[in-house]
Amino acid sequence: MKILVTAKRVTDPDMKIKIKEDGSGIDLSSMSFKVNPFDEIAIEEALRIRKDKGGEVVVVGIGSDKAQTEIRYGLSMGADRGIHVQVDGYMDSEVIAQILKSIVEKEQPDLVFLGKQAVDDDNNQVAQLLAEYLGWGQACFASKIEVNESKAIVEREVDGGIEIMEIDLPGIVSADLRLNEPRYPALPAIMKAKKKELQTLKPGDLGVDITPKVIVKRMAEPAQRKGGRMVADVPELVRLLKEEAKVI
């Protein structure tokens, strides 16, 4: 079984972001980066399926040269090889999905695993777009997957509970939080990953137009809450909820 997984380089989700004074975007100068947490889960799942079924796991990352760090991270988790599509600057989910489509057509995987959403743009679009472009089925927000020869049974986290569906392979799956707990690469694996194959391509090589359709014109701080007031005990809290906040 050949599995393609994606690794997006995102700002560390635990760091507070700052918006540039001129509102043109996020000030990335003092941020650290890591692989999108949902992609880590997707990579982990691909590795578990490979352990069971054999085959190959290929990690794809799209972005500047720095995006190679996150692809290498996937390799140090245990993926076999990497593909980096070098693009500087802004891309929308549509461009990402178009690039991934052309990689899928070249690589012909049986399964493509993505994260359900990138925790920077919070778009939650790429997996679904890619499925439609390829004319494949999608199983998004997966919390469990069982792969057979030509099909997979997927449990999805949906409003209202857990939905169980069947998807023909090749197909697209996006990972939700409860799918697994990703491993931490050990030092020898990190060393070994440095020697693994990492191919670099340009959108031009793939014949993909990278003009975005959805453009962020400017950014602003959301309204800030004035919090921080403390109360001494339950009677005071109840009094304030009643007399001041008037919610009871």
């Binding site: 777009l129 089925g137 959805v214 919090g227």
Partner: protein, 318 residues
Amino acid sequence: MSSVLIVVEHNKQKLKMATLKALTFARQAAKKLNTQLNLLVIGHEVEAVAKQLQPYGANTIYLVEDPAYKNYTAETWGHVTAEVAKQCDAVLIGINTGTTGRDLMPRVAAKLNAGMVTDLIDFDGDLFVREMWAGNARAFIEVTTPITVASIQGTAFGVAEPGGTESSITRLEIPVPKTKTRFLEIRETKSDRPDPTEARVVVSGGRGMKGPENFKLIEDLTDLFNGAVGASRAAVDSGWISNDLQVGQTGKTVAPDLYIAAGISGAIQHLAGMKNSKVIVAINKDEEAPIFQVSDYGLVADLFKVVPELTEALRKEI
């Protein structure tokens, strides 16, 4: 004439309240764009849903019924939505956000060669507004394609009231496409409580709850208000409570009149889902917990002592 088209989410022949919030947005958008407003009901034996929507003043309610459309799949519903969008010349196609909307709409966007905006909170007739980076950045977005597809963040819009002329219902036959996915079953969360996105009061528990049995304390408190139960990721990951009650960046976004967080530290990802609540109360034994920075009223205490105490005190007040 071009139109704004809203896909109607429903469950067991009943309209979801979030659809009426999407409708509030859609009315505003149709006015700004000077277009018609149409609704689309997809399913099996769902005429009752279309009828419930007739008093809301849309131009046309499209009704597409087939046993194969009974259980939502992205492929079938995506096909129907795109076909109806073409028929009614839709320039803006939306649905309330949620797992259905998020799963469905990118597929529709791909079919119509449209740009998509996830979880929009505003539209000025030109730019769309949404939050990114776990709610820490507000982005103003231009969509360059003639058609825009969107999921609509319900917390930003009120529930639409009936109004305008009674809508007509138009049945459309849309042949079922061949698909590569099949719905098998749903393991539903059994609960008589409202959904956290719909309740006036939400009481959420986190890792501080220590175990599933203690969620009884949260339930007793929220039931005073006919409120909803919510949770942090840590509580869901621990298997104490069902996945669809997770509040946060990657779970549900809620904005009730009163949000009470017990044993929740207030990680960025949690705040993203509840920071627009009207009044926030935090109960945490750690006075340094970041949840206190966004709470209107903070109580540093052991939740096992004060949550029952609060329930008793409120029982006398309401």
